[in-house]
Amino acid sequence: MDNVKNKAGFTLVEMIVGITIFSIILSAVAGLFATSLKAQRSNLAVEESLSQTSYVLEYMSRALRMAKKDLSASCLSLRGYNYENTNNDTSKIKFIKFDYSQNYDACYEFSLQGGILQESRTSLQTGVKTTQNLTSANLAINQLVFKLTGENQNNDIQPRVVIVLNLAGRENSQLQIQTTVSQRNLDVNE
């Protein structure tokens, strides 16, 4: 009996204090770790949104810079215009640009279809229309605005397009981005 008594471990109070301290530290650490994991997931979602946004803005900017004037109203509704909001809808823009894949001019349109940014191009040679999505379903575009300035050739202002993008990615990541693009072809009266 004496031997058993000498090998006795901890008392009940010691155990309770030990378990309490262990639980407090463990729950604090687990909470911190869970918060960090959540932040990491959100971080990856923001990076994905930024990557897609940068790509789509760069793609649209390059196309809009190289726009040509419509001298025969074959793409836009009026002759002598460089850009046009389709049906006066500011979430859509139409213009003519050289299509390198067809080696001919095409009528381009950027528009928003169910939260996805879409590009459609109609060949001015064959009339064939092709459509492609520029953003994935992971990215919901809540607002897309194209504000036009000097789009008509009858002014002395070089055509400019202001692009406003308001989007939401995974994990509720939000991003609002705005930029301006000016046409590189000089807009002289023809």
Binding site: G9, G18, F22, I25, L26, V29, A30, L32, F33, T35, S36, L37, A39, Q40, S42, N43, V46, E47, L50, T53, S54, L57, D156, I157, Q158, R160, V162, V164, L175, Q176, I177, Q178, T179, T180, V181, S182, Q183, R184, L186
Partner: protein, 125 residues
């Protein structure tokens, strides 16, 4: 002498508390280490987000005055910058050839600012 515990320490005593302490320290170190890495990444990611917005604001500044018919005239200055709808702002500085402008016609510098992030673009032609 053998009856005095101090001189005859049992190798079994105190092992549990030692292991518990070691496990807790290990857990705490791993959790704090990973948290620190994740939080640093979150800060970097947030800064990249601000950087993208500031860069496009700076790009706006260049595009607004680059193709002006009468030459680039800055209407958004450091004292009175221009504001975008998303809260970013920009200002431009136009210089003619001289000591700090080694170009044929103009040197345009545009600075975009979003929160604490600034990005600049310079165009010489």
């Amino acid at each position: 002498m053998n009856n005095i515990p101090m001189f005859n320490p049992s190798p079994q005593k105190g092992v549990s508390i030692f292991f518990s302490f070691m496990v807790m320290t290990l857990l705490l170190s791993i959790a704090l280490g990973l948290s620190s890495i994740f939080l640093t990444q979150v800060k970097i990611s947030r800064d990249i987000g601000y950087s993208v917005v500031a860069f496009y604001a700076a790009d706006t500044g260049i595009e607004q005055i680059l193709m002006q018919r009468s030459g680039p005239i800055s209407s958004c200055t450091k004292i009175s910058p221009c504001f975008l709808d998303n809260g970013a702002e920009y200002f431009t500085v136009v210089k003619t050839p001289g000591l700090d402008c080694n170009a044929s016609n103009y040197c345009i510098t545009s600075i975009g600012v979003y929160k604490e992030t600034r990005r600049a673009i310079e165009v010489d032609f």
